[in-house]
C-alpha cells in the first residue's frame, strides 16, 4: 500500500530552488533513507512532507490525504522529528509525554500504558521523573522519538535524528531506530552521515541540488551501481606475490591491497568463489579469509557522487 507520494514537488526560496520537481513514493513498512550532502534540500523536503512548509508547486499525498487541504489529518497520523528541536524544559519526561498524548487525542485510559511503552522503547525509563532540561543532547533526541511514539503514528519523518550526537548517543539512537524499523513502521529518515543509515534502510533516495538523483531499494541500487561485486581475501605472507597470482584468475579485476587484505572485483556467485579459493590454494597462497564484500551506503554515495560531482547550493529555510 502506498503511504506517501509526491508529484513534481518544488520549493523555491526567492532565487534558490531548494527542491526541484521531486517525485517519490513510499510503500507501507518501507524505511526510506534520504541521503545527500548538506544543502541538498533534504530538510526542505522533509518539512514539506511534514506539512510545516508549503510547496511552491506540486503535490503531496500522505496516507491518502492531500497535504494542501487536509494537513490537520496528516499531522494527526505522522510523527515528525525536526532537525533542530527541543522539548518543554520545565516538564518532566512523564509530563511531557502526557502533554503530547493529550494533544494528539490519545484516550486517557491508554495514556499511562503508552508513556511506559514509549519510555521503555527509548530506554529512558529511569529518567521518567527527571526534568527535560536535565537530559543530555542524546537523551533529548531519543525523547523526541518518544514524543512521537506516544501517539503511535503511522509514518515517521525523522530529519537528521543523529546530528550533533556523540558516538555513544548515536549508537543508542541507532538501536532505537532499528527497533522502530523492526516493528514495520513506515519511516522516512534523512541524513548526511551514511553509516547512520547503513543497515537501517530498505530503500534510499539520493538527493543533490534539490533533485532526487537515484531512488529505489538498497539492493537494487547496489546492483545497479556496482556492476561487478567485490571479494575480499585475507592472506598470510607476501601480498605482492599474491596480487600477481590473483590478477591471473579469470574475471578478476583491479586488485587493491590494504594490510594483509586484498580486495578484487569479480563475479561473486558461490561457484566462482569456490573456484577462486581452490585457485589460491593451488598457488600456495595461505588464505585465512575469503568473503564477498557488500558495498555500504557510503561506497554507494561516493560512487554516485564521483560520477556527478555536485556544487552544493546553500539551503534556505
Amino acid at each position: 500500500m502506498e503511504v506517501l507520494e509526491t508529484n513534481r514537488l518544488r520549493k523555491e526560496f526567492g532565487t534558490v530552488i531548494a527542491v526541484n520537481d521531486v517525485d517519490i513514493t513510499v510503500q507501507q513498512g518501507q524505511v526510506l533513507g534520504l541521503i545527500g550532502p548538506n544543502g541538498a534540500g533534504k530538510t526542505t523536503l522533509m518539512r514539506m512532507l511534514a506539512t510545516v512548509l508549503r510547496p511552491t508547486s506540486g503535490s503531496i499525498h500522505l496516507l491518502g490525504y492531500d497535504s494542501a487541504s487536509e494537513y490537520l489529518k496528516i499531522r494527526k497520523q505522522i510523527g515528525y522529528l525536526p532537525d533542530f528541536f527541543n522539548l518543554y524544559s520545565d516538564l518532566t519526561l512523564r509530563e511531557c509525554l502526557e502533554f503530547f498524548a493529550l494533544a494528539y487525542d490519545v484516550k486517557p485510559e491508554l495514556i499511562p500504558g503508552r508513556i511506559d511503552e514509549a519510555l521503555a522503547f527509548i530506554e529512558l525509563e529511569e529518567k521518567r521523573n527527571d526534568f527535560v532540561r536535565h537530559l543530555s543532547r542524546g537523551m533529548v533526541q531519543r525523547m523526541g522519538l518518544g514524543v512521537l511514539l506516544v501517539h503511535d503514528p503511522d509514518v515517521f519523518l525523522l530529519d537528521e535524528p543523529a546530528s550533533g550526537l556523540d558516538p555513544k548517543a548515536r549508537i543508542q539512537l541507532r538501536r532505537v531506530l532499528k527497533k522502530l524499523a523492526g516493528e514495520g513502521k513506515t519511516i522516512v529518515i534523512s541524513s548526511h552521515i551514511l553509516t547512520e543509515l547503513s543497515g537501517l534502510c530498505s530503500h534510499i533516495a539520493i538527493m543533490n541540488k534539490g533533485k532526487i538523483v537515484l531512488n529505489g531499494a538498497v539492493d537494487d541500487i547496489q546492483q545497479q551501481v556496482f556492476e561487478t561485486k567485490r571479494v575480499s581475501v585475507s592472506i598470510v605472507g607476501n601480498t605482492d606475490a599474491a596480487v600477481s597470482e590473483i590478477s591471473r584468475f579469470p574475471g578478476a579485476k583491479n586488485p587493491a591491497v590494504s594490510g594483509n587484505r586484498i580486495t578484487v572485483e569479480m563475479e561473486a556467485d558461490v561457484a566462482t568463489l569456490a573456484d577462486f579459493n581452490s585457485y589460491l590454494v593451488s598457488k600456495n597462497i595461505r588464505v585465512c579469509g575469503l568473503q564477498e564484500q557488500k558495498a555500504d551506503l557510503e561506497d554507494l554515495f561516493m560512487e554516485l557522487s564521483g560520477k556527478d560531482q555536485p556544487a552544493i547550493p546553500e539551503e534556505q529555510q
Binding site: E12, G14, R75, P82, F85, Y88, D90
Partner: protein
Amino acid sequence: MRPRQFWIYTSIYLAVLLMIFLINYSGYKNEVMYKTLTGLHKSLFFQFLVLQILVMWVWASFNSSSAVREEVTDKTYDFFRMLPIPARSKMVGILVGKNLVALLLAALNFILLIGFGLAGKLSANLLAQVVLLLISVALLANSVALLSSVNPKGKKSKSGIVGFILLAFFLGPAIINGVIEFAEAKDIELVKAKFFTLELPVLILISLVVLYFWCWSIKGILRKFTREDEPMFTRTGAYLFMLGYQFVLFGLFYYYLLHPKSGAFTINLAFWLTSLYAIVSIPLGSKRSFNRYLEFSGLYLSSSGSKLRLPRLFLYSNLSLGLGLFAIWAIVAMTTTSLAGLDFVEHLDVIAVFLSFYLFLLLLLEVHVVASPYASKLGVLLIFIVGVYAVFPLIVAGIFDIDEVAWHSPFGYVFYLFDQSQRQLQTTVRIAVVNLLLSAVPAAIILRRYVDVIKARRKM
C-alpha cells in the same frame, strides 16, 4: 507551572497587598490621608484599579507578547505547530498557560476592587463599566501582543521580568495619572458619547469599539495558527476590516461632522487623518510574500493553461490591495466632506497628494517583498529611506527657514493642510509631481521583478 513558582508570585502579590493596606491604614488612623472610612475605601478602589491595570494590561500582555517567540527560540515551535488541535485551542492554551498567575491574581484583585468600590459608595453602574473596560482592553492588548509574537523567525526575546519592570516603570506614572484624572472626574459613568445617532455611556462605547478590534485580532491569531506562513488578513478580510474600521470611525465622528463646533474643515481633516491609519497598517498585515507570488504564478499557469501576464500578477500583488484600500478611503473621505458641508471638489487635490505619498510608501513595501530574496538587509535600507522621506524635508526646512520644503514630508503636509491660508494648487501639484518622480525608481524595480517571475514561470 510548578507550585514553587506559584507561591513565589503569590507571596510577591501578598506583600504588595500588605504594603498597600499598611500605608493606607496608617494614613486613615492618623487622619493624614483620609478623614472617613468611605474615603479610605474609595482610595483603595483606585489603587487596586492601578494594580489591576498593571496586571491585566501590562504584565499579561508582556507575557503574551513573548509566547510564540519563546517557542521559536526554545526550538519547541515545530512540535507546537504540528499539534493536531484546532487553532482556537492553541490560542486559548497559550494565552491561559502564559498568564496563569496573572489571571489568578487578577481574579483575586477583582474581588478586592469591587469590594472596596462598593464600600467606597461608588455606583454599581460605574463599577460595571470599569470592569467591562478592564476586561475588554485586556482582551485586546493580550491578543494583539500574541499576534505580534507569532513570527516563526522571531529573535530571542528579552528577559520577561526585566521587560515588565521597564514597561511598568515607564507606563506606571501615565496609568496612575490617568486613574487620578478618572477618580477626580464626577459621574463619569453618566457621560454619554455618540455613535451615529445612538447615545451610549462613554466607557461602554470605548469597550465596544475595543471589543470590535479584539474580534479581528482573534481572527488574525486563528489564521496565523492555522497557516503560519500566511498573512494575517486574507484579501477579503483586509477589505472587510477596512470597511469595518471606516464604519466605526464614521460612527464616532458622525455627530461632530454634522455639528462641527471647531470648524467643519478641521473635524473633517481629523477624520481623514484618523482613517488613513487603516490604509497604512492593513497592507502590512496582509502582505503577500515573494514566495506567494511564485506559488500563485505556478498554480495559475498549471490550472488555467493560459499565459500569465503582467496585469494578472499585478491584481494578485500587494499593490492592487493598497490601491483598493485607498479607493475605499477616498470614497468615505469624500462622503464625510459632503456631510460636513464642504465642497469635496475643492478637496480632490488633497486626496491626490495623499495618494502620491501613499503610492511611494506602498511601492517601497512592494520593493521589500520582491527584492528582499536578493538582498537580505534591504528592509533596513527601506526603513531608512522612509525615515529620510518623512523627516529630512522638515530638517532642511528648519535649517534654511523655507516652509515649502517641509510640505514634502507627509507630516509637514499635514501641518500645511491645517493652515488653510497657505493652500495653493501650485503647491499641491509640485508635491504630487515630486512624489511621482520618487515613485518611478521603486516602480521600475518592481516591474522588472514581475517580468522576471513571469519569464521564469514560462520556462518551467
